[in-house]
């Protein structure tokens, strides 16, 4: 038989603890406040007198600071842990070892990196095999990568570049051929326009094989023309994200264009790009215009031929000794079906994600046409003494909409606005990471992306 603890027993322990705590607290205060002589303040043996004597450094401010010191003590412990780790890393030369092995791998033509394998794929590890591409040489490499979402990609590229007579002037010619295998496990599917509910969320898997040939012609200093031909084969299937239903479980099959089918396309495309003073510095400057068109010839039953037209332009007004910049970027994309059949849903343009509407998930909105406009104010807040790295902060406003036809596009009835702030850390002009907080009608969203060669 167990006796219930008496209330007095509780009362006996608790006051003791309370008194002990009070005692510690009061003693601490007393020690802080007491006029302890400072070291080195003993009177000078040569003195004949010491006047205006007082012990420095101990006063009421210490009492004010004390509660904050107690509150931040856990942070301090975390800091000490960090210091210990930093000390251990520097003692064991971990950064130097990483750099050393990286150099050794580079010498063998192996370039490991942290990167993303496209929008919404998450961060992962990638490795490239082969010498770096350079003008005037035949080059080739193999690249493989896998992300935390278990997406993977395998790419082989060969190319040849003819160096211009003078850098940036005259003609330049380049050729590139590549083959790529992609597997994406759990891309999100949000419905694709008027035939499905835009807010229905599911996921799907996609396997693609792409073979591409590209010819590049740099005509004058700022103009580049590209022509390419590619063959692709893709197959969609059930996604494996356990938190989301697979796309085929919630949509009628008729609403999921070409779901589960194997699609083959032969595509021909061309693009023209004009740049004026564009520089990929930490704070970008200059302007650019890019026009691209592509014809996609469906090779299979029920597969529609379609054309794509893409136009984008950017203007980066740098000022205040290149410390700040006002950036305007606009992009339009339209898809036109030719004849009967269906365009696979994943080939339609989409908005959402860090590069378009950052307050929404990747490919949140998908339809035949998209329009996007972004205004961003960027400013440098820190530059490394060696000028090799920097922190760039920014504010941005983005507006974009998807539309089923041009009349929808012009009505701006489905426009979505996002706004936000971002902080980018660069370890080189094109290598870094961006943390952004974006808001829209579906709430706030935090995005973190690696910027590699962007």
């Amino acid at each position: 038989m167990h006796a219930a603890p008496s209330p007095s027993a509780h009362r006996g322990v608790s006051p003791l603890l309370t008194r002990a705590l009070r005692l510690c607290f009061s003693l601490t205060l007393l020690v802080i406040a007491s006029p302890v002589p400072a070291l080195g303040q003993s009177s000078n043996p040569d003195s004949i007198v010491v006047i205006e004597r007082g012990e420095p450094g101990v006063n009421g401010w210490d009492v004010l600071e004390f509660p904050f010191q107690v509150l931040t003590a856990p942070l301090y412990l975390v800091w000490l842990g960090g210091e210990w780790a930093a000390a251990a890393a520097s003692d064991t030369r971990v950064p130097q070892k990483i750099a050393f092995y990286n150099r050794q791998l580079n010498r063998l033509g192996i370039y490991p990196a942290f990167a993303s394998l496209g929008a919404g794929s998450g961060t992962g590890a990638a490795v490239r095999l082969g010498p770096p591409s350079s003008e005037g040489k035949l080059w080739g490499h193999l690249a493989a990568g896998a992300t935390v979402k278990l997406y993977w990609q395998l790419t082989a590229r060969v190319g040849y570049g003819v160096e211009a007579a003078e850098p940036g002037r005259g003609m330049a010619l380049g050729f590139q051929a590549s083959g790529s295998l992609q597997h994406r496990d759990r891309d999100e599917y949000w419905g694709i326009g008027p035939d499905s509910d835009e807010d229905d969320r599911s996921n799907y898997a996609l396997d693609r094989t792409i073979v591409t040939g590209e010819l590049m012609l740099g005509m004058v200093r700022y103009v580049a023309l590209r022509a390419h031909i590619d063959w692709s084969e893709a197959e969609s299937g059930a996604g494996n994200n356990p938190r989301l239903p697979s796309v085929d479980s919630i949509f009628p099959a008729a609403e999921i264009l070409r779901f589960g089918d194997s699609d083959r396309y032969l595509s021909f495309g061309a693009s023209a790009e004009w740049r004026n003073g564009y520089s990929q510095a930490f704070v970008p400057g200059g302007s650019w215009v890019r026009l691209a068109a592509r014809w996609n010839d469906g090779r299979g039953a029920g597969l529609a031929d379609f054309s794509e037209l893409m136009a984008s332009a950017g203007l980066h007004l740098r000022f205040d000794h290149d410390r700040r910049c006002l950036s305007f970027v606009g992009a339009l994309q339209t898809t036109r079906q030719q004849g009967d059949g269906e365009i696979p849903f994943y080939r339609l343009p989409a908005l959402g994600g860090t590069s378009t509407l950052p307050a929404y998930p990747t490919a949140r909105f998908r339809d035949r046409d998209t329009a996007l406009a972004k205004i961003e104010y960027l400013y440098r807040i820190w530059l490394a003494p060696t000028n090799e790295s920097a922190l760039i902060a920014s504010f941005f406003v983005v507006g974009g909409q998807v539309a089923h036809d041009i009349s929808d596009e012009l009505s701006l009835s489905r426009i979505r606005e996002n706004y936000g702030v971002a902080l980018s850390a660069y370890a080189g002009p094109t290598t870094g990471a961006r943390l952004e907080l974006a808001g829209g009608d579906e709430g706030l969203r935090v995005n973190f992306v690696f910027l590699v060669g962007s």
Partner: protein
């Protein structure tokens, strides 16, 4: 009830105690003679060697300490509201005694140009007449170096200029070492040297630590391969900076706290006048890398006594050199990781900018780098990352350092620069002019913040006493002698004398002048009564403040403490700025 209330009483007691012990500055007064009082006691046990981690030191001072102002808001308020505590070790003349930290040199006894150029030691550097034996090597990394024993058996650390910037680092190191030595600090013997690579031999069992921390053997072939990669002159000789190795090294001293195993080290380093005042010299010379790892404690044994001497070492990141390349205008204006400036830019959307960000200029001579008076702010200069002693500096410390800087004239600066052996005459002259210009800015800045009356003495009779002085602001041509006025406050409680007024004495071009002060009472009863008082109650206080120029800030006053003396009127027993 009483039990519940007693902690609250303690809080009240604590607050009262703190209010009555609010900091006041200690003032030590004595008879005005300089006597070595910081003589180190005999060490019974040699101190342990310190080896602090450089990464931890950086994060501690560059990140954690600044962040405490965010996480502990009263500290930010305190730094703004509360006056900083003055240094603990000033003498009655507001100076420091010669010690194992500092020895008065050029400010007390003008050094000749040859003495400045020689620096510590003989100034000759390693003996190049014979072969050198390399006994340790660092062949990889940003700043490779060799430890060699020269033909005379003396050991040196040999370092090389960064690629593409011949003479840059070596000249900066040689020049800065000489000027700091002449100022009074302990520095190793540092010299520019030229040697033939063929005279170097790999010592027996020589290894170097590769990037992975593994020891790799080095033979003569590997050594020559390394030396061949270095830039050399037409005669094949390689230029380097040779720093004579200090014997008995104990590792660096921290700029905060004391060394627990050195009984002579009783004054917290952040409160040492010599280290706080070093800020002014570091700013003048753009000595950016003033961290604890660029200091060295050395155990000295002399006449059977052992004590620790504190050295400054490694001046490769000074003047226009960043050690691994030339300085940019950013250096000296902002810490490498300046959280305050970064936050200010962030929260003002980039409208806030430091001076370097809108400065169009850059370095003009590759062998000098960027070292200019253009962006130089003597009171706002910043080293690579926060130094606790520098952070605690007060105007008094700054004035003390500025007097050291002011002790150099152009001839001495030219002599120090000649030790850099710059081959480009124009670069050498540009450097002399830049050092001189920064000297003038430094002196003007700090001398304007105090009432810089020096060399005080009492003149006149016991009934018409006068304070004679030299006004350094006039002597340095910062203000003209004509029209220089002073607010004079005299308090002599024991004699019930209080007198205030403005005086405009006649001041010479060199700054010499006198101020009248009230005499002590002549009656015998006063002197009898005075003799019965404790000595601290006999002292009169004379506070003098220069009346600033119309567009200048009000400077701090100088206070002289006067002890009445029957025959002479008064005797000066102390002063503070």
């Amino acid at each position: 009830m009483r039990n519940k209330a007693w902690p609250e009483y303690l809080v009240v007691i604590a607050v009262v105690a703190t209010s009555v012990t609010c900091s006041k500055n200690t003032l030590v007064v004595h008879d005005g003679t300089h006597r070595p009082t910081d003589a180190p006691p005999q060490l019974t046990q040699p101190p342990q060697e310190r080896d602090p981690n450089a990464t931890v030191d950086f994060f501690e001072h560059a990140v954690r300490e600044p962040l405490t102002y965010v996480f502990i808001p009263p500290r930010a308020l305190r730094s703004w509201w509360e006056e900083k505590v003055e240094a603990y070790n000033p003498t009655a003349e507001d100076d420091v005694e010669n010690s194992t930290w500092f020895t008065h040199r050029n400010d007390r006894q003008r050094m000749t140009a040859a003495e400045v150029a020689r620096g510590p030691g003989d100034g000759l550097g390693p003996d190049v007449s014979g072969s050198w034996t390399v006994f340790s090597a660092k062949l990889e990394g940003i700043t490779p170096g060799l430890f060699v024993r020269d033909a005379a058996g003396v050991s040196y650390l040999i370092k090389f200029d960064p690629s593409g910037h011949a003479e840059l680092m070596s000249a900066a190191e040689a020049i800065t070492a000489r000027l700091l030595h002449a100022s009074g600090y302990f520095v190793p013997e540092v010299s520019v040297t030229y040697f033939d690579p063929a005279q170097l031999r790999a010592g027996e069992g020589l290894t170097y630590e590769n990037a992975l921390g593994r020891e790799q053997p080095v033979d003569d072939d590997i050594l020559q391969q390394f030396l061949r990669a270095l830039p050399s002159g037409p005669d094949g000789r390689v230029r380097a900076i040779a720093s004579r190795l200090l014997p008995g090294t104990l590792g660096p001293f921290n700029y905060k706290g004391t060394r627990s195993d050195d009984p002579a080290d009783t004054i917290p380093h952040e409160h040492r006048r010599e280290l706080r005042g070093l800020y002014v010299l570091a700013a003048w010379l753009n000595h950016l890398d003033t961290k604890q790892h660029n200091s060295m404690d050395v155990l000295v044994e002399e006449s059977g006594r052992r004590y620790v001497v504190h050295y400054l070492i490694d001046f490769g990141s000074s003047l226009g050199s960043a050690g691994i390349g030339p300085n940019t205008p950013r250096k000296g204006v902002e810490h490498d990781a300046d959280l305050g400036a970064t936050a200010a830019r962030w929260f003002t959307a980039g409208f806030y900018a430091r001076s370097w960000e809108r400065y169009p200029g850059g370095s003009t001579h590759p062998s000098v780098g960027f070292y200019s008076a253009d962006l130089f702010d003597p009171g706002g200069w910043r080293n690579n990352y926060r130094n606790p002693a520098f952070a605690n500096r007060t105007i008094r410390d700054g004035y003390w350092g500025a007097k050291l800087v002011a002790s150099f004239d152009e001839e001495q600066i030219r002599a120090a620069v000649s030790a850099g052996q710059l081959s480009d005459r124009a670069a050498q002259e540009a450097l002399v002019q830049a050092i001189s210009a920064r000297r003038d800015l430094t002196v003007a800045y700090w001398f304007s913040r105090v009432t810089p009356l020096e060399s005080p003495g009492l003149q006149g009779s016991a009934q018409t006493p006068q304070l004679a002085f030299q006004d350094l602001a006039v002597a340095e041509r910062i203000v003209p002698p004509a029209g220089r006025r002073y607010e004079v406050d005299f308090e002599f409680d024991a004699a019930r004398i209080r007198h205030s007024g403005i005086q405009e004495p006649l001041i010479t071009e060199e700054g010499y002048g006198t101020l009248a002060i009230p005499p002590p009472p002549a009656d015998a009863a006063f002197w009898q009564r005075l003799a019965e008082l404790p000595v601290e109650q006999r002292i009169a206080r004379l506070e003098i403040r220069a009346v600033p120029q119309p567009d200048a800030d009000r400077p701090r006053s100088v206070r002289f403490y006067l002890l009445p003396v029957p025959a002479n009127g008064y005797r000066i027993v102390g002063r503070a700025y």
